[in-house]
Symmetry: D2
Subunit: 291 residues, 4 copies
Amino acid sequence: MEVGFLGLGIMGKAMCMNLLRNGFKVTVWNRTLSKCEELVEHGASIGETPAAVMKKCKYTIAMLSDPSAALAVAFDKDGVLEQMCTGKGYIDMSTVDADTSKKISEVISKKGGYFLEAPVSGSKKPAEDGQLVILAAGDKVLFDEAIPAFNVMGKKSFFLGQIGNGAKMKLVVNMIMGSMMNAFSEGLVLADRSGLSQQTLLDVLELGAIATPMFKMKGPAMIQNNFTPAFPLKHQQKDMRLALALGDENAVSMPVAAAANEEFKKARSMGFGDHDFSAVYETVKTYGHSK
Amino acid sequence: MEVGFLGLGIMGKAMCMNLLRNGFKVTVWNRTLSKCEELVEHGASIGETPAAVMKKCKYTIAMLSDPSAALAVAFDKDGVLEQMCTGKGYIDMSTVDADTSKKISEVISKKGGYFLEAPVSGSKKPAEDGQLVILAAGDKVLFDEAIPAFNVMGKKSFFLGQIGNGAKMKLVVNMIMGSMMNAFSEGLVLADRSGLSQQTLLDVLELGAIATPMFKMKGPAMIQNNFTPAFPLKHQQKDMRLALALGDENAVSMPVAAAANEEFKKARSMGFGDHDFSAVYETVKTYGHSK
Amino acid sequence: MEVGFLGLGIMGKAMCMNLLRNGFKVTVWNRTLSKCEELVEHGASIGETPAAVMKKCKYTIAMLSDPSAALAVAFDKDGVLEQMCTGKGYIDMSTVDADTSKKISEVISKKGGYFLEAPVSGSKKPAEDGQLVILAAGDKVLFDEAIPAFNVMGKKSFFLGQIGNGAKMKLVVNMIMGSMMNAFSEGLVLADRSGLSQQTLLDVLELGAIATPMFKMKGPAMIQNNFTPAFPLKHQQKDMRLALALGDENAVSMPVAAAANEEFKKARSMGFGDHDFSAVYETVKTYGHSK
Amino acid sequence: MEVGFLGLGIMGKAMCMNLLRNGFKVTVWNRTLSKCEELVEHGASIGETPAAVMKKCKYTIAMLSDPSAALAVAFDKDGVLEQMCTGKGYIDMSTVDADTSKKISEVISKKGGYFLEAPVSGSKKPAEDGQLVILAAGDKVLFDEAIPAFNVMGKKSFFLGQIGNGAKMKLVVNMIMGSMMNAFSEGLVLADRSGLSQQTLLDVLELGAIATPMFKMKGPAMIQNNFTPAFPLKHQQKDMRLALALGDENAVSMPVAAAANEEFKKARSMGFGDHDFSAVYETVKTYGHSK
């Protein structure tokens, strides 16, 4: 099957590689064209612009960093919409807010095309291993046609109904995750300052009711101050912000998420935006100004 | 082996039953003596007071609800200390703050006895299944001698060093858990108010990096407003308070834990103190005063 | 001097009355036209649409409830921009975010007009008494020409520089105010539940370093559960949201404002959106679910 | 009138000086005896221990830094209680929690003495100017007899009823103050990072509904990073902690106070404990780790 793929960041590149390894013909595009090279070595073709990719392929997948990138790739000159027409499907797997998704969906429908929002749950390693969880919503027919591609990128795909539902589900999941990362960081710092072994805390957590793959994967790196990004902190904080905005629309008060969001902002102000989101641990540790 | 067992609440009763089923001779005591009956049916003897139990047994285990109960059982008239002497061991498995533990430990040492603090991680079901995680600290010899009892009550026992370390580790773990339960509740409410299926959220969480036994066990009951207590909310909030106090001593700022603690207090003020701690979900849902 | 006035809510009506009483010829417009009647009795003329008002007057003032109302009045059919041209001045005194202000400013400039954002600090009573504080930014010439009008509506006018600065200053002030109202509410509830007299607390506060007109004015009504709106809670919460968004852009972490914002959201969910923003006191008091 | 005065910190020294200047014979004591010298130059006598002071004087006032100091001065060897007897009055003006106050009160009553807790609202300057607000509770007769002394130390004295009420009222006031200082700091940082003038923000605040003596007095010093202590941050944070504990006892949820308390803890961890409590502004500003 031939697909287009727009956006070759940490996630996009890994997902695209899985398609290539599994026999898909892929035409790629990335804002920084040099990032396409590694994919070309594995059999991809290059599209000069999102429009060029859309023109060539029946189905195009996008994996962009945030709502403004998703809107730009859709609406800008040489963007996807220029070549959108009846029979073509656009699958936006970026994490955006429901409004952005609806904007893109409406214009695509007007041009006769199919649209599916399909954000994913999982970061770099699950993306590489084809073990993502795909949260799709929108056009059911396009969802069914996308299943072969979803099956090589993820371990399970959900169809969640109307446009906006995939975006919302993703934000809810990432909001819980961001609060949990803060709780974990606070526990690690409290343990250390109280004279306990952080490694022992990790061992204890692994045995109990709150054991989680995230703690297991990231804990050891965190206590060695290693924050090589799997999921950049600035994106996690963007997701907290969007989740809180969704809550605001529906008058849902979320004090723990709000506190976690402020800690991520503090981490950004300290220069950790491009680190892994687990770098919020550094923020919780604080800095001695003088003793 | 013959042991005393003081405190037959949700946890103590389950732990004591495991000892009885595994061939231990147990002498029990509980403030409300009627609670001893079921244990007697399974082979336990009754001690009229903590002192009577301590007099009879070489080793006595306590499983009380909070620091003031732990102090009362130790220091009050007819309490444990009246019969403490050289050669006797006291193992307090209650969750208390490090200061309470130290107080008890000092007086026991003065009287020539051995003391081990050994709070547990895990609630009703792990207690029933003998799958607790035991966080011991204090006298290493007593720890080694307690291993046979620990092995039927728990799946793993840690020796964490000096008195206070067990108490602190327990508080750190419960603090993370309390924040996570708040994050989970906020996610469930946000999903529901945004038009998503809460059951689907549970399914998505189970597949991802933040899957956890606690979400799996409690999620379904929560969305049906079932809060039968495994771990009473007032005890969880007491643990958050003690964890924040530990942080305060060490100048560790923990904004997410502080926000979670306030939500638990709100839940108490709404009358949920004796419900399971997952009842904080009800607090997050809020009540419409007028529309 | 002849001016147009768009928006006759709690604030707009009071400000407009001051203009009328001080000899200004005013042409008014409001979405609900019936609200114009009282102003007509005091000498105002009616404009059928914002465009009609703009056509008639050299200067037009707007006092709308939020960014979307401000944008609608500017951009919609029969909106202000249809009749904007060289020589005309538009003074938007609504509280909006800096981006909304900039959007309106740019389009007005393109059409050759003058624009001044001029949000105000103060609510119903200062508006009635002509004692507002005016936070203007944008076109300095228009600011100077507006001084006669500002002097009857307010006690002091600041010129803060480039477009966006007035909007930002207003949001900063209202953010501090929203956090203070929460702190005050928490103090009142704590006093009451601890067995202290709330009236005595008000007396003590008035004598000390944290005496403030807001506590003096609103305290007595609050403790009698009287929340007749001077400044609706939903608008206060909108301002907290916009202030937090401004902080987010600049990576400024504001945990106390974030916590206050969540309390205002909770108040909205409890149906207090149209009450005075001091109704957050009711949220802090909470509701007993069962005892 | 002859009185004893225990505790010559920032507050105690200033209060004592007012007594001396107004014709009171004062016998002073301080843990660091050298601090007594300046008072001696103004006519005070020295007592070697709290007991010695109590023995000499019919009335003794204490002004200590926290609950443990207050308890030590009362209960330790050579403490106040050794010389307490019928006819003697003890007035503890320290800021403590209600439990500490009750402990001291009970023992004094048993010995036949009178006790009045009388914490004050106001810091260094009001103390120097004799403009404190005195929040007394306990023995009404002793309150009436203390009025001459209160009138030179303060501008107004309240009698609030039973023991504990003075302590509680003080904590409520300081809790509101701590949250307000955080809100003020967040506003100052937000203004600065958004390109606004902090001095203009101070000017705007002074004209509006949230003008307060604290902002006026401390704002200019804060924006120049001057935190010479009038009220040390570690004491303010101690008061937030005690206020939150009072809330906890009464199941009063106070999320804004909790968030403010965490910011003060962060400030302590950054070494600002001995600075003025306005140094929490530095914490809100954060530190760039890298840009």
